[in-house]
Point group: C2
Chain length 319, copies 2
Amino acid sequence: MAEGAQSTAEVRAQAVTGGDTRAAARLMRDLEDGLPQAVAVLKRLYRASGKAFVLGITGNPGAGKSTLVDVLIERYRARGLRVGVVAVDPTSPFSGGAILGDRIRMSRHSTDPGVFIRSMATRGHLGGLSRATADVVTVLDAMGFEMILVETVGVGQDEVEIVAQAESTVVVTVPGLGDEIQAIKAGILEIADVLVVNKSDREGADRSVRDLRSMLELRGHEARQVEIVKTVAATGAGVEELMAAIERQRHPAGSDDAALARRRRQRAEALLGEVIQDRMRRAAARLLAAHPDIIDQVAARSVDPYSAADDILAELLAR
Amino acid sequence: MAEGAQSTAEVRAQAVTGGDTRAAARLMRDLEDGLPQAVAVLKRLYRASGKAFVLGITGNPGAGKSTLVDVLIERYRARGLRVGVVAVDPTSPFSGGAILGDRIRMSRHSTDPGVFIRSMATRGHLGGLSRATADVVTVLDAMGFEMILVETVGVGQDEVEIVAQAESTVVVTVPGLGDEIQAIKAGILEIADVLVVNKSDREGADRSVRDLRSMLELRGHEARQVEIVKTVAATGAGVEELMAAIERQRHPAGSDDAALARRRRQRAEALLGEVIQDRMRRAAARLLAAHPDIIDQVAARSVDPYSAADDILAELLAR
């Protein structure tokens, strides 16, 4: 890399660590777009990061995650912590990035320099959302935000990958959301460190807690202790208990340095895997774009997609 | 490939096209596991496929997709069509493959040789579910199933990728499922060819239809016509109307050969992209496993994940 580009990256990195929120927002946008200059800045920021606590928050649509995040922002701010939020939103390219609720939240906290909220949307089918989310977390971390909340909407493999980057994960559900089997189907129970039954002033909250507990017991083989907390995010009820549970997950009783190092290593592996996959995805997209003829042959079924993939990848590896 | 392996693949392919359901089920399992021998069989089957109509069915958890699929199986069978079903279930590795509902359905149709149901679960974080689903569809197609229903649970980027492989997509929702904005958030509206308001005997069904229509009109720029149908899957009400809507999407008025060829090409491109990405994912996993030291360095933040990825990929490409 040319010396000029290097020093530009250094200047941008210093602006971000120095607290320049406009520079940070621009860097995040550039990272979402996968610009190489932005990656050069991120390489510098990565070494300055690693101090924040990253908390994943996910769960069924309509479970009240956004309201809960809003209350958590307030409470952590009241404790003097700077709070970064990454709201990951699998919105279509058409409907754009931030949705109504996030816009409201953003304006609500916009006068508080101790809060930074970033909404992220998937862009097209080539994904890389998980990698982009990790990048934004690194930027927030390097900016000195001590508590970083990563909120993902809905369920699915992407969500699992995204929250796999968090140090601790809160899964939010509500009473009577169809059959409890939905929670298993969603495959989110396995990633939870804390399970929240939100809107617990509704009928069936205690039943939900019992059902979740039975499911956890069925799972059994899992050594770590998952806590279940009832909240009413709209009134703030139960939120202190939730924060205490999160704190216990953060510093588990009897956990030693080796356990913490193991967790840190898992996160590094997940992050590195994301970056590698993301680069490969881009390479695959470029290869496909360069071979319109092969797509035609697969469409006509004169070539099967596996043989076509062999040919295309052989070309990539031969370079 | 050795001649012996080739002829084995040929024998297995012939067993599948000849209607041997045990051979087909074993092949599907091997494809899910990504066994190279299974891919050799699939290459042969791909050329024999392309005759089936592939219909994607997705939507919010709890919307009644499974019941709707069940009714569709019955109705298509009554019309003399052989029906294959791929139920994609983002279940965790722990809870295993088929869930209760699918097991019930399977036993219900198990005596009918004109129905073949395959449940698929994600396995681990490296994904490839979309590619595996496409493989199973190819097998069902080569087996002579004329109607193939691909049912995905929940929402998310995976779901979008999976239904992108279908020729037509039905998105199922229910009245009063929180705010209608959930549907937008889920980003599934954009992939719908037919929108179903199921459980439409519930209060608010007409309102849901109006809201969905407004959202479609807002979208506006989209040329193709999306139909909205009300059903009550549990009683079968509206299902004939749904099937008629699906048929109209299949053979749109005024559509010419060029439009059909364009759609076929899009599917081929999506499938080829999946196969390439899947192979790259595997390569990335192997590379990561071979470099435990680099993971340690990233965990210690002495190396950033981008520089580490550069090093690992340089090694891959240098081979």
